[in-house]
Symmetry: C2
Subunit: 474 residues, 2 copies
């Protein structure tokens, strides 16, 4: 291979410093997950295709990475019946394929691929809960920090391999879980020193209530998308867009208060109560929000603020109660850095009915970018070498190596430069790695059982015995 | 989906307790990697196929998991020239495929799959070093703990997805690296409490020397395999097998001392010097071993022992110097729990010549099984909930929740039972999770700002204030 090697688009190599910074974030997330009583699980990187396919919509299916059957993959099932026209299909270009031919192709894919890389952590978790239901005590609080893969078009901040950090509870409908998750968000971002994040909250039942009131469930997404532009295009602009999308003038009038939907959470709750009074499901959503908001007024958040945002509709397809999204502090141009919600029938897709789940996720890559932008990483995020022992030759190296062993036993990171190279080269190695101390031990030091320790920042050096050396390096 | 979901064969779900035990092992490995001056990197789960293919031999290529091109994968390259006979091929059964048809099929696979899951950490590391050579200061000491995937036939202790824990140095030929790696093995197994492991060592140059002496380089593997059976089938049995494999009687006579190859490392070195005196490369290998052995006699290992084993030939294809393998303590029936060696041209496959590397690997799954068998896991391997607050209803839950927040701020893992279920159910939850303390706070406790704390093991309970509560839970 003559040309310089590369990695697939949308994937990344992580250098030691990047790993250290990522570990800094995940260790704080993990610590808080544990403090809140969550336990870790891990699931395989690939699942049976039928576990994943059909769970993320048509677009999702397309973005799932499929793995070729191994061995003589075409023949795993002895004699398979292939779509008749496969040869023709294979020799056609993409835009010439008819819809029913596409179905044939999908069948073919199914024959040569039975496994797929996980697309998120939620579906594998649902599969885990159903498969292990007899070993699990409900409510089950689990966290999971693992990579997922999506065949998305890569762009800034969007990768084909990235980590998700999820915490979920299944088997309890208690709203205390929602309160706990908001506290958990607050605790993590506070520990990360990232003050001023906004936890936006909505409730699927309120969206259903609005749909009832405007008399058009099918227009709900158009409605929320348009309303979300209020800041940018003003009330008239929003109304125009709604009309254009086929929402009637009467419907728009009915929810007029939403156009002036500002104020504190309590004021918003009051307005919602008026607006949704005719909708049972809507009022149930308001009551749920109210409980959470009232509780958090008494047990306030440390650094995050809570905002009721009725345009929040993420994951509308499967959330059934609370919907969360976290945005970075004002002035940081970054999408959501976390999100989650409640789904009343998480495990139903795998045959276990009536198990409610609620969970949140942290967006590791974006949190990383925000901390970087705001200079919030601590100066030292990783343990690094404290002392480099200069290698003057075999006898000296031997003397140093014995010392290094003793230092390591006391938790001090020390290294011997592996070759007796020129002094310059060895010093450069220490400098490039910002190793704070260099130890020099030549014949005279060895005779007296001493070491010359050089402080690389000040340039000062002194001769010391082992105890002094160890004390200086501690 | 009616049937209970499952996971692909050879893969595993990990429960919280399994994760905790695995983390216990990897955290000790990581800590020692860092103490020895290694830095972490991570590479993508999948690489371009041509990065991996052809690096692990024909068998290896077959075991690499290939990923289907995403989207309309057949058409990524607009119009592709397919093997003419593809349709016939696809409809044949595996045993009917001729060798040149297989080549056609491989071509076809190449067209529909351009990425593959990594098979080990060494080749991606070599790729990383070449790709980032301008950002790296050599010698570069890196560690990497990530999963790898192999389409192997699953069996006890062999999985299709498993973690490798590797540490390598590239860019130095110093034998101090070998000494350091043996010390590193010793440090890790000592910390794990796994006393009595044997670090077996050999050197590729000694094997080359033997080949020279017996005059048959191509018979070297047959030779070492046969010699390895000395314990089981005795000297005559071994000689018979060698003759059967086509090794001449004269050759066998020349290396007669190997049949009585016992004693201390120093004695073995002396015998090897005599035996290999006519081979330059062999004598170089002996000198390398001698340096390592002499050094480690002066700087002894803590709990591991070092053994010179000239039948050790793992990775014969690419190791060029030291070869290591670690075996579990006597009486434990488990293959190697670690291995490694030196390869003088690690990065040559990617066009960067003359970069020597040496490294070792820890077998996480097997180490887990050994620790389990010997009962060496600490009693508590994971942080777990210290106190469960019983939920008597909204007002009480509210009172408890405020307390829980304060406890968590002080690092105490505390939880509220999410629903005001029957007392029995809540106590059972605490019992099943072996939560040591249950906190009860009803109307009377609330009025007096107190808590009733119940020790779940002794059954004792007492009323305390917050400070006392916190002290008891610390």
């Amino acid at each position: 291979m003559a040309q310089k090697p590369s990695i697939p688009k949308g994937t990344r190599d992580f250098s030691p410093i990047e790993i250290a910074k990522r570990s800094y974030i995940t260790s704080i997330i993990k610590e808080q997950f544990q403090l809140f009583g969550f336990h870790p699980i891990e699931t395989p990187s690939f699942e049976n295709s039928d576990t994943l396919m059909g769970k993320y919509g048509e677009e999702g299916d397309r973005l799932i990475f499929k793995i070729l059957n191994s061995g003589n993959f075409f023949f795993n099932k002895n004699k398979i019946n292939l779509p008749k026209s496969i040869d023709t299909l294979l020799n056609n270009s993409a835009d010439k394929i008819e819809s029913d031919e596409r179905i044939e192709l999908n069948k073919f894919t199914g024959l040569i691929s039975e496994k797929a890389l996980r697309y998120d952590l939620t579906v594998p978790f649902a599969r885990y809960v159903v498969q292990h239901q007899n070993e699990i005590d409900f409510p089950f609080k689990r966290y999971q920090i693992q990579p997922v893969w999506r065949a998305d078009r890569p762009q800034k901040g969007r990768f084909r391999e990235f980590y998700q950090c999820d915490a979920d509870v299944v088997g309890s409908k208690s709203l205390w879980q929602e309160v706990d998750f908001i506290q958990l968000y607050d605790a993590v971002f506070t520990k990360l020193g990232l003050k001023g994040v906004t936890i936006k909250m909505n409730n699927r039942k309120i969206l259903s209530g609005i749909a009832e009131v405007i008399g058009a469930s099918d227009k709900l997404i158009d409605f929320t998308v348009a309303l979300d532009k209020l800041d940018k295009i003003g009330e008239e602009g929003v109304k125009e867009e709604m009309l254009a999308k086929g929402i009637s003038e009467t419907a728009i009038e009915k929810v007029q208060p939403l156009f002036t939907f500002t104020g504190t959470a309590s004021e918003k709750i009051r307005q919602l109560k008026e607006l949704l009074s005719s909708s049972d499901v809507g009022m149930k959503g308001v009551a749920e929000l109210e409980f959470i908001i009232n509780t958090l007024q008494e047990i306030p958040l440390s650094t995050a603020s809570l905002d009721l945002d009725i345009t929040l509709a993420r994951g509308l397809n499967y959330y059934t109660g609370a919907i969360f999204e976290v945005s970075a502090p004002d002035g940081i141009n970054m999408g959501s850095i976390g999100g989650g919600g409640r789904y009343d029938d998480l495990t139903g897709i795998f045959g276990l009915k009536n198990v409610s789940g609620v969970g949140i996720s942290f967006g590791l890559d974006r949190i990383y970018l925000v901390l970087e932008e705001l200079g919030l990483f601590p100066e030292t995020v990783a343990p690094s070498t404290k002392a480099l022992f200069i290698n003057f030759g075999e006898a000296e190296a031997f003397y140093c190596f014995k010392t290094i062993r003793k230092l390591r036993n006391n938790g001090i990171i020390a290294e011997l430069y592996p070759d007796s190279s020129k002094m310059n080269k060895q010093m450069k190695y220490a400098n490039n790695r910002t190793i704070p101390f260099v130890i020099l031990a030549g014949t005279s030091e060895m005779e007296n059982n001493k070491y010359t320790i050089k402080n690389m920042q000040s340039g000062n050096q002194q001769e010391v015995d082992f105890d002094q050396l160890q004390a200086l390096l501690k």
